[in-house]
């Protein structure tokens, strides 16, 4: 019944609108609008354009400078992020200046040069000097922006320093898996054919560098030291994105990628700066990857270097936690694997192995 009433109401409103439309058209014809050179209401349109300009600029300034409920500028927490952030705001200053000036001219001219009876437009087909100027000026400004951009880009994408902490990040539907090189500071190999329900990352245990690799629940990185993310994916493309670090790199199946950076603020620093005791750096997936795309979160903790070392040492190798994978270790490396992973076998077994290796 209610639906029926709503339907009737909608129909009535449409009929009323149609009648108003028809009447106003007829009135217009009676007034002779159709014979006019210029449609009536030309001045109104010009005025509306000017009002739009004014209201638009007011709104633009209001929202850009604190009118929004939330702050849209995220604090920067990496060394390169400070450089890109500076470049971002320089570009913002340039573009906003051009934006405001051109919009003022566009709507201002529209208002100022609205049709006036008896006037004639100025026949002005071209002016080469003007054309040269406004080809050259943008070209120079752009060249400056490009040069400073390329300088920053070159630094960001250069090879990571040798002492960078290495973290391997792998994206999959719909989570991240992370691996650290462990005490030998060397990431072991991987093979996608070795992936199973437990060995999510396909760690290859024929490589002795894998034995001490550990797979933590959170990413920890040290403040003030270079960190290199080695990034891969095992099913579809994902993207490692962390807005506070101004960091983003796609995770591509079959093609490892990387991104290195220097975090400048520990999680505790950021909690103090933002006044949010629950603040955490969150790793975000930023390439469409399926129905769970919007939920691929991983916490990154930035520690003071000492805390980081402590945490690093306290982590158990993955092999230790999953000792049955010793079966994948080649026979000759069994003992090395046990030592590297810190697995205590029964005394006899270990002794036997030691003896056999010494032979």
């Amino acid at each position: 019944m209610l639906n029926f009433v709503i339907a009737i109401a909608v129909v009535l409103i449409i009929v009323i609108l149609l009648v108003i439309f028809r009447v106003s058209t007829l009135v217009g014809i009676a007034r002779g609008d159709t014979r006019k050179q210029v449609p009536s209401g030309n001045r109104l349109q010009a005025t509306l354009l000017l009002l739009f300009l004014i209201a638009g600029l007011i709104g633009f300034f209001y929202y850009s400078f604190g009118g929004l409920d939330d702050d849209f500028t995220l604090p920067v927490a990496s060394q390169h992020g400070e450089a890109t952030s500076r470049l971002f705001w320089i570009t913002m200053a340039v573009t906003c200046t051009v934006f405001i000036i051109t919009q003022i001219f566009l709507f201002g001219f529209a208002f100022r040069y609205q049709h006036r009876e008896g006037e004639k437009a100025y026949f002005y087909p071209h002016n080469n000097t003007l054309e040269y100027i406004w080809t050259a000026v943008p070209a120079v400004v752009l060249a400056l922006l490009i040069l400073s951009g390329l300088k920053v880009w070159g630094k960001i994408t250069a090879a990571a320093p040798d002492d960078a902490e290495v973290v391997e990040i792998m994206g999959y539907q719909f989570a991240w898996a992370v691996r650290y090189p462990g005490s030998d500071n060397k990431l072991g190999g991987y093979d996608y054919r070795k992936i199973d329900a437990t060995n999510q990352m396909g760690i290859d245990f024929s490589d002795r560098a894998s034995f001490d690799d550990f797979v933590p629940r959170e990413i920890h990185v040290p403040k003030g030291r270079p960190v290199e993310f080695k990034i891969r994916a095992r099913d579809v493309i994902h993207s490692v994105y962390q807005p506070h670090f101004r960091l983003q790199m796609n995770a591509v199946p079959g093609m490892p990628t990387r991104f290195w950076f220097v975090p400048t603020k520990s999680t505790a620093d950021m909690r103090a700066e933002t006044g949010n005791p629950d603040f955490n750096y969150e790793l975000v997936c930023n390439k469409i990857c399926g129905y769970g795309h919007f939920g691929m979160k991983y916490i990154i903790v930035v520690d003071e270097p000492e805390e980081y070392e402590e945490w690093y040492k306290s982590q158990d190798p993955w092999l230790k936690q999953n000792a049955d994978y010793l079966g994948q270790v080649p026979d000759g490396l069994q003992e090395a694997a046990r030592i590297a992973a810190g697995i205590d076998g029964s005394a006899d077994e270990v002794g036997g192995l030691l003896m056999s290796s010494s032979n």
């Binding site: 739009f52 971002f88 100025y122 002005y124 539907q173 329900a197 807005p243 796609n250 975000v284 990857c289």
Partner: protein, 623 residues
């Protein structure tokens, strides 16, 4: 002597058109080879797709603006895509996003815009009876129609439409295990796109051939209206880039159906390791964007051409820097082919490529800036008449500037690291390409409606439509810059998983409201459009007092466009408000020798060579 030849064939042609043979309904309105009918077919199909594409965006905007809303009321049309809890299915959300993008970019702004106005205006503005090949032209529409049918069907299948984003990056789009939409939905998407590419190529070849070969006497390239230049260049870009998309899609079809590994390597999915080795997902991105970037110029250049014409006519002034406009378009067309990898700065490709593409990308900003400055200078000291078409053109220039400027951020690889795939990108391309091109389409419809249907659209409703849409578009897309700077990723179903993105819920709600109002305003246009076809005021022959050739045809041009001989052209299209001339416009068909009072010095010389007999007498006759 070639001139004589042409005239002989013309006479023959005219004879043919003088005996009116009645066409049946089918050959007149359905399988028509007349460029005007085909243009209208493209337009109506484009309008249909715009409603579908816009409607889909409203559904996902509801999800973003009102994440807690009970959507059970959508069940009658969306079925199980609304979960039992009344929520939008998360994968169908991606399907909506994908189809919105595909439909808007290809079906509305490529076929709906180029298809309509290239078809309609090229023969009318260059003085031709029809396209070079009416039959190919008809095929072009029907390929598009088939493509539309396939894409539309894909919306209703059980596994859902293609859902991997309009860029359909593999492996997501290649593996049905990765998402349901990559099954049958993706197959239909690929079939539809293959048909679409065929349609675009048939159309494009026709446009280029027609512009080169069928210009009327006197219509040199430097006298062509900028609309024709834009359509011509657009067609060339399309012919060069769409085949690459076809090969890109073909390789994807091979990977999906025939076990090849062009794009696939080392994949473990659905509990098993796939045998594919050695392929590269990045290869797909290179091929895709080799079309994908020129595509945005395929979308925007016709809109800019239309705007040039409308702004000049309604400012009653010649377009400022006619030659600079052509050169800019040529430069944009050339550069559009060598900037594609700026979509891939963080894809993992070699950073050195990133440097090169940053450089090339920011160079393309120069000709774009020149165009914007020239539009503004055309308004300067004009005598502006605010027709609805003119309002939409001014709106287009405003969007083109607002959206174009943010390109300086995204084209700069160092800045793109943090902005890539955020709402900043969404705001950028919706303004500079989406809304600007859409406004070009609407401006064109309002401006050439009288020539299409012989009647006028209602100006009051048109202006109301303009203001609601113009303000609405800015309210929808401008706020997105802010959440983009705040790092909000695009294609997210909800932001509740992340503390970083916990703010701005009210902004998202606001944007959704603005989107609903803007969409609703389009129904004013629909009413105005369809009502005016039948009930609009009859149009005068030249309602906007324009110079171009189409306004010399009868009110409703019949097959062949001009009842008598094709008019000759004696001047460029922009003699508005020429000093000394009695009127503020001089159509292209008026010989220079008839207007000695307003001729510029070099035109006085040209007038002597025209060979038009006794200008005085003819002028008397005209008056």
């Amino acid at each position: 002597m070639s001139v004589a030849d042409i005239q002989i064939t013309e006479v023959g042609h005219d004879d043919h058109h003088d005996d009116h043979h009645d066409q049946g309904f089918v050959s007149k309105y359905i399988f028509s080879t007349d460029h005007k009918t085909i243009a209208k077919q493209f337009l109506i199909t484009g309008i249909f797709w715009a409603i579908v594409g816009g409607g889909l965006s409203l559904i996902f905007r509801l999800q973003l603006g009102y994440p807690d809303m009970d959507l059970n009321w959508l069940r009658p049309i969306m079925g199980d895509w609304i979960t039992a809890a009344g929520k939008l299915d998360t994968e169908f959300y991606l399907g909506l996003v994908t189809m919105h993008g595909t439909i808007m970019v290809f079906f509305v702004l490529t076929a709906g815009l180029s298809g309509t106005f290239s078809n309609f205006l090229i023969p009318l503005q260059i003085g031709a009876r029809d396209m070079a090949s009416g039959f190919l032209n008809m095929l072009s529409y029907w390929f598009f129609f088939l493509s539309s049918v396939v894409m539309f069907v894909s919306l209703f299948i059980e596994t859902g439409p293609a859902s991997s984003g309009w860029t359909v990056y593999p492996p997501l789009s290649a593996l049905p295990q990765a998402m349901a939409g990559s099954g049958l939905g993706m197959t239909l998407w690929l079939i539809s796109m293959a048909l679409f590419i065929a349609s675009t190529l048939l159309g494009g070849i026709n446009y280029v051939t027609t512009v080169i070969n069928l210009r009327t006497e006197g219509m040199t390239f430097t006298r062509l209206p900028l609309t024709i230049w834009a359509f011509f260049i657009t067609a060339v870009i399309g012919i060069l880039s769409f085949p690459v998309l076809l090969s890109c899609a073909l390789l994807l079809i091979f990977d999906r159906s025939f076990g090849t590994s062009f794009y696939l390597s080392e994949i473990f999915i659905g509990g098993e390791a796939l045998p594919n080795m050695g392929g590269s997902p990045i290869l797909f991105q290179h091929l895709f964007w080799f079309l994908g970037h020129p595509e945005v110029y395929i979308v925007i250049l016709p809109a800019l051409g239309i705007t040039s014409e409308i702004i000049s006519t309604n400012s009653r002034k010649p377009i400022f820097g006619y030659k600079a406009m052509i050169l800019s378009m040529l430069a944009i067309a050339f550069l559009s082919f060598i900037v594609w990898a700026h979509h891939m700065f963080v894809s993992g490709m070699n950073p050195f490529l990133g440097s090169i593409f940053t450089l090339l990308t920011l160079i393309i900003a120069v000709p774009s800036a020149v165009k914007a400055f020239n539009y503004i200078t055309t308004l300067w000291r004009g005598n502006i008449v605010f027709t609805t078409g003119m309002l939409f053109s001014i709106g287009l220039v405003s969007f083109f500037i607002s959206g174009g400027l943010t390109g300086l951020f995204l084209g700069n690889s160092a800045l793109d690291i943090n902005l890539h795939d955020t709402y900043f990108v969404v705001a950028h391309f919706h303004l500079v390409m989406g809304s600007a091109a859409f406004f070009g389409l609407l401006a064109g419809v309002y401006h050439w409606f009288p020539k299409m249907f012989g009647r006028m659209m209602d100006e009051k409703l048109g202006r109301l439509h303009f203001w609601l849409t113009f303000i609405g578009v800015y309210l929808v897309f401008f706020p997105l810059h802010y959440i983009g700077i705040a790092g909000f990723p695009r294609r997210y179903y909800s932001f509740t998983s992340f503390e970083t993105f916990s703010g701005f819920a009210d902004l998202n709600t606001f944007v959704t409201i603005a989107a609903v109002v803007t969409f609703a305003a389009q129904f004013i246009f629909l009413f105005n459009f369809f009502y005016s076809i039948f009930g609009g005021r009859k149009a005068p022959a030249n309602p906007w007092k324009s110079n171009t050739l189409e306004w010399t045809t009868p009110r409703v041009p019949q097959h062949g466009n001009w009842p008598g001989a094709i008019p000759k052209v004696y001047r460029w299209a922009y003699d508005y408000s020429k000093p000394g001339a009695p009127d503020d416009f001089i159509p292209q068909t008026i010989p220079l020798s008839h207007t000695p009072e307003s001729n510029l010095p070099h035109e006085g010389e040209l007038a002597k060579e025209e060979g038009v007999e006794s200008p005085k007498k003819e002028k008397d006759k005209v008056e």
